[in-house]
């Protein structure tokens, strides 16, 4: 009996059903969670999916961090539960203080939806345990605000503590140090801009995302 991956829905989220479909395609079970609820129920991992929570008004994630369910997500993360923020979900986790840094507008000031090559920088995270350091994965990006930034001190810590989880092979958006994904100190909370749920089926162009979501499913099995 495998565990359940909860997928948080805010008004304006749009990748929630894609996450559920890919989790289930990989043999897991996904369950939608409503942002206005106060507890997570019995889930074993949480995905904060992509989209435009609260219309990205003010700035991406700035309003979503105040949703009642985020209190429960924060508590779950503090207790070591695996939490993954994808795209808008990454933005929300940085706004909520669960991950360091921030996502600003792409260097080219345009929205970018395109394939991208991502290099795995550590296999020690809730999203990369099935991968090996140095693996290169083809996973699409789809964002306007994906340009990761943080202060020098934070960047040094991220590098020293091996917390840069993923890097772009060919940086598309100007992210500092080519960063595509990072994790927290406990390594259980991971945020990334690329969409692994869009790369779990060869019919759609790539199944390289399976190794990432599969790693998460290993933790809840």
């Amino acid at each position: 009996m495998s565990g359940v991956v909860g997928v948080v829905v805010f008004p304006g989220s749009n990748c929630e059903m894609d996450c559920i479909e890919s989790v289930s395609h990989l043999g897991g079970e996904g369950r939608l969670l409503w942002h206005g609820d106060e507890d997570l129920g019995s889930v074993d991992a949480v995905i904060v999916p992509g989209g435009f929570a609260h219309g990205d008004y003010l700035r991406p994630g700035a309003i979503a961090r105040f949703s009642p369910l985020m209190v429960a997500v924060t508590r779950f993360a503090a207790a070591g539960g695996p939490v993954v923020g994808i795209c808008n979900g990454f933005q929300i986790l940085t706004e909520a203080g669960l991950l360091p840094g921030a996502l600003q507008k792409n260097r080219g000031l345009k929205f970018l939806c395109q394939p991208s090559m991502i290099r795995v920088e550590t296999s020690d995270s809730s999203l990369t345990s099935r991968a090996s350091t140095g693996d290169e994965l083809s996973i699409p990006i789809n964002h306007f605000e994906g340009n990761y930034t943080c202060d020098d001190e934070t960047l040094a810590r991220l590098n020293d503590e091996d917390r840069v989880v993923l890097r772009y092979v060919d940086n598309p958006n100007g992210s500092v140090d080519d960063i595509a994904g990072v994790c927290n100190e406990g390594r259980n909370v991971v945020g990334l801009m690329p969409h692994p749920e869009r790369a779990c089926n060869d019919l759609l162009g790539s199944s390289d995302g399976s190794v990432l979501l599969g790693s998460l499913l290993d933790l809840v099995a």
């Binding site: 008004p11 304006g12 749009n14 990748c15 059903m17 894609d18 479909e21 890919s22 206005g36 989209g51 435009f52 609260h54 219309g55 990205d56 008004y57 345009k110 929205f111 970018l112 939806c113 395109q114 699409p140 789809n142 306007f144 969409h195 749920e197 869009r198 089926n201 060869d202 019919l203 759609l204 162009g205």
Partner: protein, 737 residues
């Protein structure tokens, strides 16, 4: 202010007289305002309706044909597909970002009004030349608007077109197509029924934006000075409101809480209330004071004709109201009871239920009794320009080829084209292919939907009838290239001023061309949109009927190959040899848009499309690309640059064979082991197959005509749009004095 009110509202003296006859009294100002928007060209199709009746609209799989918010076809496994195309040309010329954004919003509402979840958008876009700063301003704004709204509302944009041409300098074309899927049994129609039922207005509050958009903007051409004055007629879009509205409406439909539902688009509340009542054979009392407003002091005529975006009108039974309000509350969607279904056929606008009656008209008269014009038609005396057949052969065809290349990826990389995990083939190929999954159970049918949009103003300027037939043929061929068979057409007829007899002749000819081709290929037309008055400073655009074609891929276990080559592939040209330079991209680029154009042999075309579809489905070709604008030369260059492999080709006689355009022609790349089988199949299908050469190396070589490095072709292809659009824009009108 001496002119009578009806003329200020865009009604003719005859039309005003007709309104008074219907009412059997003098219409009051509110009633005149309501008729003026409903009888506008945009809403009533008064100039085009008599011609549209000639289109074939029936087939066993058609569930809903033209006239509803969207056409619907049965695609099997309990799934129906809803599709519609619309134009937002004039708003986009005035305010590109919002014009395009609200175009996307409007078409989405047409689709979920039918009970369908929107799953894909396509945007055929046409702008003035790239060297015109204002055209670049419009292009950038429109693409940003589609991106900003479409991405945020959460519906992928899986394809479209982008064309730059002098004819669209003053009047761009921004068309948008939406495809949705629904469980077949959930099909809902936009009608009110059940006396005593309630009309609930959902979504945004009503403001002064977009008042008279259909009559002021969409039903008149542009002059030089007044564009800025029209800006308040353009609406402003809010994709976040629309996203919540979609989710709320689909949940209302899932729970069976609505009797009928209608979006508020052109002509706003007037259109939504009168059409739902008229279709249901009932009347409606509307309490105008109950409509939530954005600002105080709005007059009833402003509330009734406002085109504020992101609004829907749901007809619900009184006992279901509480649950409806609960669902709306969950999605943070405003809901207000603003009307009641009544007996008889009167639409009454009141200041409070039981209060003063501000307007009372027969609901059906706003729609059914709109005027119908058979405007004068006359073939133009002159061809569109010099004949391309008279041009000298180019001294260096390689230079000419480079000039014709433009990669549209600058446009579509700004669109989310992958959401919902359906996109097997996205933008940039001959047609998009989407997995066909059941919209509520998620059941994967193992089949696919294919979608393409096509238009060609160059062909249609030379001969609108034959040009439109060629466009339909190209659409069918595009679908064949991804292994799909055609199911249904929607069209967007973009033409100039219908008061010009040449324009009405073009429209009538185009309808006949489309009708003939659709009948020959067995494809019904299930919906459409007519956009007239596309003119600027008295000059009409070239006739531009745009076709949206939906098809089915019967087996989708592997990805169709797309326009690809691999080292060592044989290049084979399937289809007839006949091409013409008349209406060709090459001719137009050299100032000669006229000349002779080949005709579509529909029997031959069907043999070619059937052959190509089967070759793709059976996995016999490594790559496939139809020959369209720019002919064989452009097709070779596109396949080479997308694959990073050069070509070495012979048997191309001259520039005419290289750049000439004709129907039913497809370039396939074939693995050597499969060449015999492919040629054998072509013979069996009675289709000519010509071996042109090989995919190899890093140069594009056409013997005696072209010898270019792949690197040069690729950098020109990829660089054209970003370089041109990176060179600055302005919204200043050119100084015409």
């Amino acid at each position: 202010m001496s002119q009578p009110l009806h003329r200020a509202l865009g009604l003719t003296d005859d039309e005003a007289g007709r309104i008074n006859e219907i009412l059997d009294r003098e219409a009051n100002p509110l009633e005149l305002a309501m008729y003026s928007v409903m009888w506008s060209e945009h809403c009533s199709y008064k100039s085009s309706r008599i011609h549209l009746g000639r289109l074939p609209t029936e087939a066993p799989w058609v569930l809903v044909g033209p006239g509803e918010n969207a056409g619907v076809v049965d695609v099997g496994d309990g799934i129906a597909a809803a599709i519609r195309i619309e134009s937002h040309n004039h708003p986009s010329a005035i305010e590109p970002y919002q014009g395009a954004a609200t175009g996307v919003g409007g078409i989405l509402r047409d689709i979920f009004t039918m009970g369908a979840r929107p799953i894909a958008l396509m945007d055929p876009l046409r702008f003035g030349p790239l060297d015109d700063p204002r055209s670049r301003w419009i292009a950038e704004g429109v693409v940003s608007g589609v991106s900003g709204y479409g991405n945020a509302v959460g519906v992928p944009t899986v394809g479209g077109e982008v064309v730059f041409d002098e004819t669209y300098r003053g009047n761009p074309l921004v068309n948008v197509l939406c495809l949705g899927v629904l469980p077949t049994e959930r099909l809902v129609l936009a009608q009110a029924s059940g006396v005593g039922n309630l009309a609930v207005l959902l979504g945004s509050s009503t403001g002064r934006d977009g008042i008279g958009g259909v009559s002021v903007l969409a039903s008149a051409g542009f002059s030089e000075a007044d564009d800025g004055d029209k800006r308040p007629s353009v609406q402003v879009g809010d994709p976040y409101e629309e996203k919540r509205l979609i989710e709320a409406c689909l949940q209302l439909l899932d729970e069976g809480l609505v009797v009928g539902i209608q979006d508020l688009g052109g002509a706003g509340l007037t259109c939504a209330t009168s059409e739902t009542a008229s279709r249901g054979g009932v009347g409606m009392d509307v309490d105008v004071s109950a409509v939530p407003r954005r600002e105080p002091g709005m007059e009833p005529h402003e509330v009734m004709t406002s085109e504020s975006q992101e609004r829907m009108l749901a007809i619900v039974e009184p006992e279901g109201l509480e649950r409806v309000l609960d669902i709306c509350n969950r999605w943070e969607v405003n809901a207000a009871v603003i009307g009641r279904v009544t007996e008889g056929g009167s639409l009454r606008i009141m200041d409070g239920f039981g209060g003063e009656v501000l307007a009372e008209v027969p609901a059906a008269s706003l729609d059914d009794e709109a005027p119908l014009y058979d405007r004068p038609r006359e073939a133009p005396l002159l061809p569109p320009g010099p004949s391309a057949d008279d041009l000298d052969a180019p001294t260096d065809p390689g230079v000419d080829l480079l000039e014709l290349l433009a990669d549209p990826s600058w446009v579509y990389s700004q669109y989310d084209h992958q959401l919902f995990l359906n996109t097997v083939i996205g933008p940039g190929d001959d047609a998009a292919v989407l997995r066909l999954k059941h919209p509520t159970t998620g059941f994967d049918t193992g089949r696919g939907l294919a979608l393409t949009t096509d238009g060609n103003h160059r062909w249609c300027a030379v001969d609108p009838r034959q040009g439109t037939a060629l466009v339909v043929a190209e659409s069918v061929l595009n679908l064949a290239c991804v292994g799909a068979r055609p199911l249904a057409v929607v069209n967007c007829l973009n033409f100039g001023n219908p008061e010009h007899p040449e324009v009405m002749w073009q429209l009538s000819e185009a309808v006949d061309g489309m009708s003939g081709a659709c009948e020959a290929f067995g494809v019904p037309v299930i919906g459409g949109n007519v956009s007239l008055y596309n003119e600027s400073a008295g000059t009409d655009i070239a006739p531009t009927p745009v076709i949206g074609l939906l098809g089915l891929v019967d087996r989708l276990d592997t990805r169709p190959p797309g326009a690809r080559l691999a080292e060592g592939n044989h290049l084979v040209l399937l289809g007839p040899d006949e091409v013409g330079l008349g209406g060709s991209l090459w001719g137009a680029a050299h100032g000669a848009p006229g000349g002779e154009m080949p005709f579509v042999d529909t029997a031959m075309h069907t043999r070619v499309t059937t052959l190509v579809r089967n070759l793709v489905l059976d996995g016999l070709v490594a790559g496939v690309h139809d020959l369209s604008a720019g002919g064989l030369g452009v097709a070779l260059a596109e396949m080479a640059t997308r694959s990073g492999v050069g070509v070495h080709v012979a048997r191309v006689g001259d520039h005419r064979a290289l750049f000439g355009e004709g129907p039913s022609r497809v370039l396939v790349s074939v693995d050597p082991e499969r060449l015999t089988e492919v040629l054998h199949r072509a013979t069996g299908a009675e289709v000519d197959a010509c071996r042109l050469g090989l995919a190899t190396g890093d140069r594009v070589i056409v013997k005696d005509l072209i010898d270019l490095s792949l690197a040069e072709i690729t950098s020109t292809f990829i660089g054209r749009l970003p370089e041109a659009l990176g060179s600055g824009t302005t919204n200043r009108q050119p100084d015409s004095r």
